[in-house]
């Protein structure tokens, strides 16, 4: 792993399930968006690679995401608020991404705050 990037993002939580608000863009790996269609906030993970991605969700197991596919991962309700911790892994090309997303109160209403650490080979 010789290439590492940290991406931080924050955006209002939208309600249109068909158009999640872009939150984090991880180069050459995935696009992450946020939406709350009414049943709680969800992170939308879009596989931007031409290979399958493994998405591991803290306390919830793993899912496989095909090239170009997207999946909705609900945030977990905790004592500290709604929160999500995921690992997105790819073998070819070699990529490892950790993303942490929470929902925060603000003057603009509920906003999602996310941070991703992405490591890989160029």
């Amino acid at each position: 792993m010789t290439d590492t990037v940290v991406i931080s993002g924050a955006a209002p939580v939208g309600a249109d399930a068909a158009a999640p608000t872009p939150l984090l863009s991880v180069p050459d790996v995935a696009e992450l968006g946020i939406v709350d269609p009414g049943q709680g906030a969800q992170l939308i993970v879009h596989n931007a690679t031409a290979a399958p991605l493994s998405v591991a969700v803290d306390d919830s197991g793993d899912l496989s995401l095909g090239p170009g596919d997207r999946a909705a991962v609900p945030l977990r309700s905790t004592d500290d608020g709604d929160r999500l911790h995921v690992q997105i892994l790819s073998a070819a090309p070699l990529r490892a991404v950790t993303a942490i997303v929470t929902i925060e109160a603000s003057e603009e209403g509920r906003i999602a705050v996310g941070q991703a650490i992405a490591a890989g080979t160029p």
Binding site: T2, A11, D58, D59, H85, A91, I100, Q115, I117, A119
Partner: protein, 132 residues
């Protein structure tokens, strides 16, 4: 508080890399464990002011070799949308542990966000663990 997640990526040559990650919201001056690799190391962290202190506990019989930033020429930090209000930061750490014939190298990237209204700092980390 989030637990340590452990993942693995298999490589074409049969080897593998292990991926550890965790995130915690800390008050300034509080030391907390962030990453743990059983039998290898434990990484603690503490934030005081603008300084990020890391503590690596070597759990092996070999020596701990510690270096500072990793991948400096390729490092980049991107801030999107409203995230600037949370003062995002980062730090990198590289170290090796284990006996001479079985060294393990770990590259850790630590990312921070500051929640001033709650007086907390979110510290997240990803560690890439591989045989030397």
């Amino acid at each position: 508080m989030t637990s340590v997640m452990a993942g693995e990526i298999g490589l074409p040559d049969g080897a593998s890399v292990h991926v550890l990650s965790a995130s915690k919201d800390l008050e300034p001056g509080v030391r907390a464990m962030l990453l743990l690799a059983e039998g290898l190391f434990r990484l603690d962290i503490m934030v005081i002011g603008d300084a990020l202190q890391t503590f690596v506990r070597n759990l092996t019989s070999g020596e701990l070799a510690l270096t500072g930033e990793v991948g400096q020429p390729r490092v980049a930090t991107t801030t999107l949308g409203l995230a600037a209000r949370y003062a995002p930061g980062r730090a990198d750490l590289r170290f090796a542990v284990g006996p001479e014939d079985d060294r393990v190298v770990t590259e850790v990237t630590i990312a921070t966000l500051r929640f001033g209204d709650r007086g907390l700092i979110r510290v997240s980390a990803q560690g890439i663990v591989r045989r030397a």
